[in-house]
Amino acid sequence: MRTLARWRERSIHSVVFTCALLSIVTTGGIIWVLTTESIAFFREVSPIDFFLGTRWAPLLEPRSFGILPLVCGTFLVAGGALVVAIPIGMGTAVFLSEYAPPWARSVLKPILEVLAGIPTVVYGYFALTFITPHVLRPLIPQAEVFNAASAALVVGVMIIPTIASLCDDAFRAVPKALREGAYAVSATRLEVSLRVVVPAAMSGIVAAILLAFARAIGETMAVTLAAGMTPKLTLNPLESIQTLTAYIVQVSLGDTPAGTIEYQSIFACGLTLFAITLAINVIAHRILRRFREVYE
């Protein structure tokens, strides 16, 4: 009986350990898949042309694989999304942690969760069939049917919950004593919020913005539907552009056979996308870990 129990304990231990190892296998798989196909791609296209080229025309002769237009489109949408999401997300977070009575908190938090839970294809539908034709084009007639601005707007709304709830956590982790000290020298609530709480939580705020930025960069369906399929090196948000993710979708919809240069190009783009988001995530998590040590 004792040996049976011991055997059972040991086998359960190894089963749960294997499940935990699966996460490392997943990461390894992602890196392996992206690099092996990308190496095949870089045998055909020189990395210098790829990373520094300013013309992306993978399907038209003469072909050209310069990724800068796609990276530019990606950052145009993600940067625009931050312009929308930082003020709204931080305003919401300050309200939640410094002003809101408990009932307002219990209403606002679930609303943020619903906002985060709406599928991205729904945001894409909304940008394409409502924001562009009924809001943007009546205001700015020169906006194109597909444009970066409408995509940036909905992606911005999409990442509000990330910024709001992570900043809220950061604000609430600021010790009460800091606030009380400020109140004791007759600071107003505004001064406590902006001059005590926000600076004390600055690392958490930066991490929240970085995580939201990475999410905006990897966003796919909304930008594919609303921002268009025209790779272009422009900073004008009213024009049609193409993001890295939208290009990957475009090729995969076209049913290209394995082994062709178009097929390999989605792995090269995927590798670029993965490297950018991973770098941002790693920095954000490093900042978060350091920040936790300070206040616990």
């Binding site: 749960v16 935990a20 996460s23 990461t27 309200f95």
Partner: protein, 288 residues
Amino acid sequence: MFLPRLQRRRKVGRMFHAACALTSLIGLAFLVVLITRVAWEGLPWLSLKFLTNFPSVLNPPNAGVKSAMWGTMWLIGITAMVSVPVGVAAAIYLEEYAPNNRLTRFIHVNIANLAGVPSIVYGILGLAVFVRWLRFDRSVLSGALTLSLLIMPVIIIATREALLAVPQSFRHAAYALGATRWQTIRAHVLPAALPGIMTGVILAVSRAIGEAAPLLMIGALTYVTFVPEGPRDAFTALPLQIYDWCDRPQQVFHHLAAAGILVLLGILLPMNAVAVAIRAWHQRRKAW
């Protein structure tokens, strides 16, 4: 000379309070406009026929989401069966078994980073591994395994938090009575953590229901006029069907897309509500 100017500072403070309250309502306002718009465009097209008909390009008024609904159900059934046990087991290892060494710390960092990998990258992984390498083709199985990998980090993180919230005294009491580690986990830790795990699992699965990008990558079809009968069949899913309708220029397909979105939200919003309700209920009647 020191001038407190309290009057003016209080006035600015009140304006700031109002501004913060207003910005926090922007999210709600956006949600209301979005849902009103979708309902306005889609409700007239929503009928029993819409749920029981196959999509149709030639006859859009008779198009429906039957194949997409069945595809989504197959997909989510398999995804949940794979990702929930594996994800919960991984979290149990990390919280209850793992020694504090470099490997464990690496797994923690790795999971946090996996949660931030764009969903389309998981699609590329699924395309290379499940579709091409393991030759599952563009089947329900390929889609479900890809989605499982995608939501696994979310499930692990939520389960870890739920396990972490169970007080250490529960475990000590069980050990003191001679229970083994697994007996302690199964009979005391898991039941106490169950509401938290369920909230996390429901939110993760609802994320999988709404995902379109990884399914596009593995080559799931957008136009399917049959119901999948097994895990090796080709399929479409609700978000893919919606994407396909959105992408067509004719107005009539946008109405169909709106009706499809209503069906999708009709599944997702109740799931969200249940998750929030479980958490609220658990927090109220928590015994510790």
